[in-house]
Structure formats: C-alpha cells, structure tokens
C-alpha cells in the first residue's frame, strides 16, 4: 500500500486542488492554530465568550468527523448525531459511576466517548456500508430515527427527555486541576480539538483515507484495483464514529448534561448543514462552517428572533451559488494569489461587495421592519435597527430603507461586470507566472 507517491491530482477539481496544495503544508498552520487557541481566552476573558468558543470547538470536531464521511468518503448520513450522542451518554454514565470516575483523570474521558461512538458505528456499519448512495443515506436516517425515538422510551440509559446529568469535578484531579472553571474546560476542549483535528488530518493522508477518496469518486475502479469498497467505507465510517464520539464526550464535559437533542434528527440535519456551509471539498471547510453557524445560532439569535430565517437563506444561497462552501470561496482566490494578481481584485471587490453588503443589510432591515410592523405591541411603534431608533409605522423610514436598498442593489448590479472582468484577468494564465 504505497500510493502516497502515486497520487496524481487534477487541479480543476477543487477537492483535489486542496490536496495538491497540502503536499507542501508544513507544521506552521498547526503551530499557529495552537497559539491562537492558547491566546484567545486571554483576549476574550468573560465566561460567555469562552462558553461560545467551547461550543464552537465541539461543533468543529463533530463537523470534521462528519466530513470524513461526506467529503472524503462520499457517504451522506442523516443520522450522525447518534454516534456523538452515544459517546456523550456513555461518558455521562462513566461520570456517574463514582468509584471508577474518581480514579479517572477527566482529560482521558473523551477516549471512552470515542470508543463507544466507534462501537455503535461498527454495529451499524456492518450492514449500512455495504452500499453508498441512497441506501446508505436511508439506512442512516432509519437508524437515526430509531435511536432518537428509543432515547425517549429507554429511560434507564437515556434518562427520558430530561436526559442524564453528572458532575465533571468528581474526577481524579489532573495535576491539581479540578475543572471547576470554564477556562480550565476550555483548555481541555482545545487540547482535544487540536489532537482530533490532527489525527483526522493524518487519517485523510493514510492509505485508507486516500482509498476513501477513490471509492467516493469511482467505487468500481477501486474494486478493480483490488480494494473492497465496502471495507474502505466501513473503516471511514467507524473512524468517523470514533471522532463523533469524542465530540459527544466533549459535550458531556462542557455541559454536564446529555439529552434527547444530542441524538435527534434535527441535530443530525444541523451537522450536515454546518459541514456543507463550510465546504465539504476541503479539510478545513467544516471548521469554518462550525464557527459561522455557532455565531449565527448563538449570537445572531440574541439580536433577532428571525435568525433561523436568515440561516435558511444563507444555506440555500450557499448551495445555489457557492457549492464549494465558504472554504471553496476562499480557495477560489488561491490561483489569483499565486499569479500575484490578487491586488487587481481589491478595487472591483470593494466596488461590488460594499454596495452588495448594503443591499443585504437593507433587505434584512426591511424584513425586520415588516416583522416589527406586524407583531409589535400596540403603542410600541419604535424599533431599533442598526443603532437607529425610529417609528416603524411611519412612512419615512420605509422610504429610506427601500431607496437605500434599491440604490445599493442597482450599484451592485452595475459593478458586477467589472468584477467578473477583473476576475478573469486575475486568473488568466496568459500573463505568465511571476
């Protein structure tokens, strides 16, 4: 199994372009990432920011694990939350097994979560990975629904809708740390984030990880080369289950409670959207998706009750216009940078994106105004939007909002051809490499 040096890449395919680039990747990004993770809580010291960062880290691990299936293995799962959920529930039971937990340092707990997630993945994978495509997707949906439904029925293990809770501080103190403070938990989760991200990255570069790509793209050809597509899928599946279980364990450590929501189809759907939003074709895509989605869900929802509406619009437009996700959008610019022509793009970008941004903000302002107009209490006509307070029942603000939006839209439309032209220029080979 020595295909490391046989890999040929087709730079027109985004998924492979990433790998072509990554051949030269050194340890630098990892060190930078680790430093950033260490420094972040010193900048954002309050507990809620740390809580949000913990949530991000957990979602990142889960989304990366999910992308081992979707992006690297080409397997679409509608029930992946159950593997992370089972890992989390198992950890919760370990936390509640007082005697055993008292001799277990907390930082080791995620290993158990991973093993349980992997165990379940082995059972399910034994029959679900026989084929990819719709059969796999539908089995994952069915199994996901079954386990989510039984989480309410089987109270002994899942605790019904109230879930199972425990106390992380009863573990064996780890070098004197009892994990009483959020910041201590943050460093634990960050350490596991680094470890699992590195392991998952390395997995994508092992022969099995490479074969997963091959099976995704052309299972028949892979079979002819002598690889069993089924076993390759099975291995991807159980490793994905392992890391999903780790994410579940980190959830258990951070929240100290596991409930039905950790298993249900909504969570499974969310992780699919997160991964796709970030971009399935790139290793770091899900990381972006997890960060953006957590911010939308947690921070945008503090600002507006319509956050789910905006999230829906974001997803649909991502799929329609940027199927490569956010990562694809970023990586689109790599050639321009390589040609040293990226600076040609700066001005057209400003010309198009600035009015474009205003258009989007204007549209959302209109949506918020309609919402306020329809649902606000009688007598409370004032609303605050973008730090401006005005009367949503008066005509004037509406005219302003509509005019600004329309004007911004018009400017955007007018400047788009310029951007397209600049784009072509910047990505043109004829200029030669500089």
């Amino acid at each position: 199994m020595n295909e490391q040096d046989q890999i040929t890449t087709d730079p027109t395919k985004p998924a492979q372009r990433m790998r072509a680039g990554s051949m030269t990747i050194s340890a630098t990004p990892w060190i930078v990432a680790a430093l950033v993770l260490i420094v972040l809580p010193m900048i954002f010291t309050n507990n809620s920011a740390i809580t949000i960062m913990n949530q991000m880290a957990i979602t990142i691990v889960f989304a990366l694990a999910y992308n081992m299936l979707l992006g690297q293995g080409g397997m679409l799962s509608f029930g992946h939350a159950v593997y992370s959920g089972i890992g989390g529930f198992a950890c919760m039971h370990i936390m509640n097994a007082t005697e055993f937990f008292a001799v277990l340092p907390l930082p080791l707990l995620p290993i158990f979560g991973g093993l349980f997630g992997m165990g379940l993945a082995m059972i399910v994978g034994s029959f679900s990975t026989r084929s990819a495509g719709t059969v796999f997707a539908m089995i994952s949906l069915g199994v996901g629904e079954l386990i989510a439904a039984s989480s309410i029925i089987i109270v002994a293990f899942f605790g019904g809708e109230e879930g199972i809770s425990g106390d992380r501080t009863y573990s064996l103190p780890f070098f004197g740390i009892e994990f009483l403070k959020q910041i201590e938990v943050y460093y634990l989760i960050s350490a596991w984030l680094m470890i699992s991200t590195l392991l998952m990255y390395l997995f994508s570069r092992t022969p099995i990880g490479r074969m997963a790509n091959a099976v995704r793209d052309n299972p028949e050809r892979a079979e002819f080369l002598g690889y069993s597509a089924r076993w390759v899928r099975f291995y991807s599946f159980i490793f994905s289950g392992f890391f999903a279980g780790i994410a579940g364990a980190l959830f258990a450590i951070n929240y100290e409670i596991l409930t039905e929501e950790n298993l249900n189809t909504t969570s499974s759907g969310v992780i699919l959207l997160v991964t796709f939003l970030g971009g399935v074709g790139f290793f770091f895509g899900p990381i972006l998706g997890a960060i953006v989605f957590t911010l939308v869900q947690t921070v945008l929802s503090l600002q507006t009750d319509l956050w789910a509406f905006y999230a829906g619009v974001l997803f649909v437009s991502t799929v329609m216009f940027f199927p490569g996700g956010l990562a694809g959008l970023i990586m689109m610019h790599v050639p321009a940078f390589k040609f040293g022509k990226a600076r040609h793009l700066v001005l057209p970008y400003i010309r198009t994106l600035l009015p474009g941004l205003i258009t989007i903000l204007g549209l959302s302002a209109l949506v918020e105004m309609i919402f306020h107009f329809r649902h606000a209490a009688t007598g409370e006509d004032e609303m605050t939007l973008f730090w401006t307070t005005f009367d949503s029942h008066a005509v004037f603000p509406w005219i302003i909002a509509i005019v600004v939006t329309a004007a911004a839209f018009w400017i955007t439309r007018r400047n788009v051809p310029g951007l397209v032209e600049a784009w072509h220029k910047a990505n043109n080979f004829s200029g030669g490499r500089t």
């Binding site: 539908m138 039984s150 959207l273 799929v319």
Partner: protein, 318 residues
Amino acid sequence: MELVLVNLIDGLVTGLLLFMLSAGLTLIFSMMGVLNFAHASFYMLGAYFAYQISLYMGFWVGLLVAPIIVGIAGAGVERYGLRRVHQYGHVPELIFTFGLALLIEELVQFIWGKNQMPFDIPEVLNFTAFAIAGNSIPAYKIFMIFISVAIFIGLLFVLTKTRVGMIIQAALSYPRTVEALGHNVPLIFMGVFGVGTALAGVAGAIAGPVLGTFPGMAFVLGSIVFVTIVIGGLGSLWGALVASLLIGWITTFAKSYNIRMEDILNGIGISTPEYLDDNIFRDLWTITSPQIADILPYILMVLILIFRPYGLLGKRDA
C-alpha cells in the same frame, strides 16, 4: 370484528394520504434522482394556501386553487433553484431541498405566525357518513378516500395511456435518448416536479382540516414520506401505493391494539425477570405497541434495505 373494519378504514385514509405525497415524490425521484426533502413543505404550503383562500372564497375554491399555486411554486423552484444546483451533483441538490424545507417553514411562520390555523372541515361534509358498532365514520374521511383514489386512477391513466405519460416513462429510464428524440427533457422535468408538488398541495389542502394546519406539520410528515417510497421501491407508483397502505394499516393497528412486549417475549418462552424495576432492560419489557407505532415504519425500512434494497416493488437498486 367490527373494530377491525373501522381500523381498516382509518388505516386506508392515512395510507391514501401518504400515497398522495409519496406518488409525487417517487415520480420526482425516479426521474431526476432528487430526494426532495422539501416535499412535505409543499404539502404544508397546500394546507396554508387552501386555508387562506377558504377565508375569502370558501373551501372548494381553496381545494382547487391551492394545489395549482403550489404546483407553480414547485415548478419555479425546479426552474430557478434545482436546475441550477443540478450541475453540482446529487448531494448539493439534496441539501438544497433540505435548506428549502427549513426556509419554507420559516416563511410560513413569518407570514401566518406560529399558532395552529382554525382551518375547518366544510359544513357540507361535517356529518357522520355511517357508523360501525358505535364508531362513527365522518363523511370527510370518505371524501378523502374518493379524492385519493381518483388521483391514483388519473395518474395511472396519464402515465400508461397517454403520449405524455409514455414520454415521461421513457425519460425516467433513458433521459438522453428521449432528449435525442427531440423532446424537451428539462421541460418534462419541470412539469413532473410541478405536478408532484401540486399533488402534495392537494394532500395538504384536504389534510389540513383534519390533521391540523400548523408550522410543524411538514416536519411531522417529512421523513415518513421517504420511508414510504423506499419501502415501496423507488420510482414505482404501485410500490408507493402498496407501501403507503401498508404503513397506514400497520400504524393504525399498532395504535388500536395494546400489544405488550412482555406478552410477546413470554409467548416465545422468555419469562419476565423477577425484579423488573431494577433490570436494565426494564424499559424494553414495558414497551407497548401504541408507544412505538410511529417508529415501526423505520424499522421496516431498515429491514427492507438490508434484505431487499430494491424495495417491495422496485426494479432497480436504490
């Protein structure tokens, strides 16, 4: 015995309603390869449109017009959304419909609010058709049965006896050949998508008054429709019918009779543990059939996929 008959009728109503959704979905899937996650959302739109129209023009106009609007909306989604995403492959298509389902739910909440709508059965049909041993069968249910059967016959006729149906059937299997013969395949796709969603709209318009018109109605029905077409066999209209009725009857009978897990286990010779309350399997022992009625279809689907991936009447691999 009479109760069996009543349950058969109730299960038939549920099954036929499911069929109206799965018929459109299976057509769309077999033709375009798209698992349309937003299908149940079009069902919800049907109910809401019908409700809104019925406020001004009465139930019957609503029943007639709402599906048409839904169909047009569906065709628009295909033309301006799906067709664009189609080039990226099946997974983005699926995620597109997934996102669309979320978006439609949010839109419905934005327009109609989050409460259940007071959408009621029309007065003309608000009576008891007949009673079996004290169990009244509302006339509306009979009406639902008639509508669904009429739609099934109509669909079958169009697909097997008309020229359009022939082209559609051909396009199902050999889209490129059909295109080469000079037929406008994208137009056929759009038409099938529109008709499929319109069928979902009909289902919504007639189910809204009995099952409730609320923002969660699509979610409640969402995945069960997939289960139906997978069990029936993708692309098979007869399969969709058989699977829908099967699911309708299984769930209805499971809810009507209290079959207890304990009795089944005792029946096959496993005796109840002495200290049930401390047993880790205590919850399994106390399961009753009404408790799990609505997850039985999922069990059925997983079993079918393991042992017969084509589904009951399907011809090709899912």
